[in-house]
Amino acid sequence: MAIYTREQAEALLKKALAYSKADECEVSLSGNIGGNIRYARNEVSTSGTEENVAMSVESRFGKRSGVATINEFDDASLEKVMRRAEEIARIAPESPEYVPMLGPQKYITTKAHFDSTAKIDPAYRADAAAKSIKAAADKGLTAAGFLEHSTGFMARLNSKGLFAYHPSTVVDFSVTMRTEDGTGSGYVTQDFSDVSKLDTASASQIAASKAVNSRNAKALEPGKYTVILEPAASIDLLRNMFGNMDQRNAEEGRSFLSKPGGKTKLGEKLVDERITVYSDPAHPEIPSAPFAGDGRPREKTTWIEKGVIQNLYNSRFWAEKTGAKSVPNPGGMVMEGGNQTLEEMIKSTKRGILVTRLWYIRSVDPQTLLYTGLTRDGTFYIENGKIQYPVKNFRFNESPIIMLNNLEALGRPQRINGSLVPPMKIRDFTFTSLSDAV
């Protein structure tokens, strides 16, 4: 059995915890059933399933801590894993960053589990892949795609009385389609908690039309351009920015949020005032766990409001040491947008470039959050409100901070990789060279 109900998980965790002889003890249980199908050259190449469930025990004596894991749950195994964690704790050095385990917490309710997704079977996977391959073959294209789904749960119980349980499901789908002559390529990626929202046939049409329309791209001179970034293009840059909003790094002077003299940019305006970013585990489009990895409750939190940095996340240790508010790191992010469709954003563009995907993004300078990477799978030149022709791929060197200061317009947010992100129109986006890649 890999998936435990709330009651089953609590009963097993209580049974395990009863073996503890430590000063403090936390037992967590997580399980997952997943499956995938991969195809390339319009044929299925691999397909498989995996199932796993594991228990992790952290035992503490004073400021010493030990962790052990196990995947067998009979009485002898439960006792064994408890003793092992305690042995490791006894010989561990004292942690200078010790904080006591949390007591009982109140968590908001989130609906992240969908039976539709939990019921995905091999026949569904084969059918989903076949529909995508058909969409390619009908247009003489070659498809390479991947569909992966997972049904899982997390539960934790500690000796101070904290109990948390969260079930979830997710399905991820992506496909790249290429023209036979190798001059056109298109891509689509979608992810949902509820698989009934996924239609691989219609999603694949997006990749197919990008492939067909991106054939025989023309070369433009690299330089600064107004760009419209589809959510699949901007998500990685934005995620890199959110992932670096740690208070300790900022206060230690090694973050884009650090300021001279050991200060941080918390409370200051960092980006355009139309930018507001928050996280909410209960958001119906992107539900996530209502607790962080250390058991702290996750609630609706505003990170950037009208361009001003409102919160940085920090550890309990750092919050206590500095007297700051303790803020757990978020799950998915919501960037607020406007009501314009992508088509309307294109229509209002005099001269610009539509970027549908960015690829191989790597940090160049953590001080300015400068990243480099390339456009991929469909890049188009816009003039007088219309897409005129496909253009060759560019390499960019840009910082999401500069990008969000050069904001022209925001469209309607869409789910992408567990976050909600609007299409964005940005002026003076920096392309530094051309690539021959298709």
Binding site: R41, P93, N244
Partner: protein, 548 residues
């Protein structure tokens, strides 16, 4: 049935390594348990259960991998140990050919019953997928090796060294960095031991014990007054070695260019020495001159050039990428079959001789046999600048008219299916006697780059941009001072055709990638790249400084 955990390196202060997370497989165990081995006689008996079951269920070919994968990782910052991971993953993967189609299934139930079930499941998957197959799989022949074994030639098993000793070494390196002016230092030691038993219906029973090690650190210097910060990574390399790599040896040090204080490490690393220099260099970077963008001749150190080789030669010559199997993720390749067939595609200048192998001493790719039971070897990829070959496994060899596989099949765990992975890909040293100072003496306006930095390349491997760890300006044949904000952008073919020669073999050493990702679901592999200092003429350098 795989349990794959991820350690978030960014949370441990390893943001500079540019890996969001590293995978850890399996269960947490005590350090002593890592020294145990499974009896080969038992493994042979279990392997036969898989092979016999698969054959009687209708497989025309079957192979089985019984794998025990051990990982021990130690993480520290400044004066404290942050995390110690000891993990073991044990299980069996069965791959079969039935009706001309591959099927694969894996289980952590290492019993006769569990293995037979996995073998039957693999055959069932193969038969189901056969309906969608257009052409049957063609396997290149492989020799029957009987019962054989192989072990990484290590002097001391790193898993035998007490964890406290390892933590103490990292903390001593941290202390050296702090004494020399660092504000922060994060250090880590990664060790891997793969105990793999491969058997196939071709009559091979291969028992291998493979060891890898990687010490690493990031030193950070902060100028509080200006708010500026700079990092400097370790100049170590991950190696296919034991603890002996961690013991400094004067004979394994190669002095860097005059005016840099740099030291190259061949088959032994001096972590304390490197940490002290790293702190001084991180501080120096805070006030180094910002580069003027333009064309420069580059002298690239082997610890930097390895990554350029990896991205611009290693990946584009993977045959599965060339054929389109990785189109949805890693991408395809500019090095198409027609270019290879023409026999005159100039990948680089005449000075460029790049070879592949899984046999090189101390390398990460070094094994006796690959994960298809193919004996490993060395072969040329680019000879005198011309593209001559790719990297292929058994079911691809016929596509490039090879009589046998190159022996580069690899799976990162018993629960992952083996597929084509990059072997060691190395640039042969120059034939004429030449050290790095002599190489620099011929450069009028150039930049010397050491260590890995930011790296990015397009999905067909044409356009790339690379940074580095430290940069020095070369003027009129001499290093004249440190530079900052340097990255070079080029096109793969143009870049390799600008290669003007390398130092001789006394300068040759390995660079490595410990967690190279490929495939969906993604698998990691470890691979080395050897080279000597090499010169490239007239490369486009950009200035990466910005204001936010």
């Amino acid at each position: 049935m795989k349990r794959r955990h991820f350690i978030e390196l960014s949370a441990l202060g390893f943001g500079g390594l540019m890996m969001p997370s590293i995978p850890v497989f399996g269960d947490i165990i005590s350090p002593e348990r890592a020294l145990e081995q499974v009896d080969p006689a038992l493994k042979k008996r279990l392997a036969d259960v898989a092979l016999n079951t698969a054959k009687s269920s209708g497989a025309s070919y079957a192979d089985v991998r019984i794998g025990r994968y051990l990982q021990q990782y130690v993480f520290t910052r400044e004066k404290q140990v942050q995390n110690i991971v000891n993990a073991e993953s044990y299980g069996v993967g069965v791959r079969v050919l039935a009706n001309g189609t591959w099927g694969f299934a894996a289980t952590s139930d290492v019993s006769d019953k569990g293995i037979a079930k996995a073998a039957n499941e693999a055959v069932a998957i193969a038969k189901a997928n056969a309906k969608l197959q257009k052409e049957p799989v063609q396997l290149a022949p492989v020799k029957s090796w009987g019962e054989v074994s192989w072990k990484t030639p290590i002097e001391k098993n790193a898993f035998e060294v007490p964890i406290n000793e390892k933590a103490d070494l990292l903390l001593a390196a941290n202390a050296k960095a702090m004494e020399n002016g660092a504000n922060f230092v994060n250090s880590a030691l990664f060790q891997v031991n793969e105990q793999k038993y491969f058997a196939s219906t071709d009559g091979s029973y291969i028992d291998q014990d493979i060891h890898r090690i990687w010490p690493n650190f990031t030193v950070t210097a902060v100028d509080k007054a200006s708010g500026k910060f700079r990092t400097r990574e370790a100049l170590s390399a991950p190696m296919g070695m034991g603890w002996e790599y961690m013991v400094p040896k004067a004979g394994e040090k190669i002095k860097g260019p005059e005016g840099t204080g740099l030291m190259g490490y061949r088959y032994a690393y001096d972590m304390l020495e490197d940490a002290a220099l790293a702190a001084r260099q991180a501080k120096e970077k805070l006030t180094a001159k910002s580069v003027a963008a333009g064309k420069y001749d580059l002298i690239l150190d082997p610890n930097h050039l390895g990554l350029t080789i990896h991205e611009s030669v290693g990946h584009p010559l993977e045959l599965d990428r060339v054929l389109g199997y990785e189109a949805n993720y890693a991408g395809t390749s500019f090095a198409t079959l027609d270019k290879w067939k023409s026999k005159n595609f100039k990948y680089g200048s005449d000075k460029v001789h790049i070879f592949a192998d899984k046999t090189q001493k101390g390398s990460l790719g070094l094994v006796g046999w690959d994960d298809e039971g193919v004996k490993t070897k060395q072969w040329d990829l680019i000879k005198d600048g011309t593209l001559v070959n790719y990297q292929a496994i058994r079911d691809q060899a016929h596509i490039i008219n090879e009589p046998e596989s190159h022996g580069c099949a690899y799976a990162d765990n018993w629960s992952s299916v083996q597929f084509q992975r990059m072997p060691n890909v190395s640039l042969a040293p120059g034939k004429q006697k030449m050290n790095v100072d002599q190489l620099i003496s011929g450069v009028d306006k150039g930049i010397y780059i050491a260590g890995r930095g930011s790296y990015s390349i397009d999905q067909q491997r044409y356009n790339f941009q690379f940074g580095g760890t430290v940069f020095y300006e070369i003027s009129k044949g001499k290093i004249v001072g440190m530079l900052e904000d340097v990255a070079y952008q080029s096109n793969t073919q143009e870049f390799w055709n600008s290669c003007a020669g390398s130092c001789d073999e006394s300068d040759y050493r390995l660079f490595g990638s410990f967690f190279d990702g490929k495939g969906q679901p993604s698998q990691v592999s470890a691979v080395s790249h050897g080279s000597s200092h090499t010169r490239f003429n007239g490369v486009n350098v950009i200035n990466t400084a910005r204001k936010i």
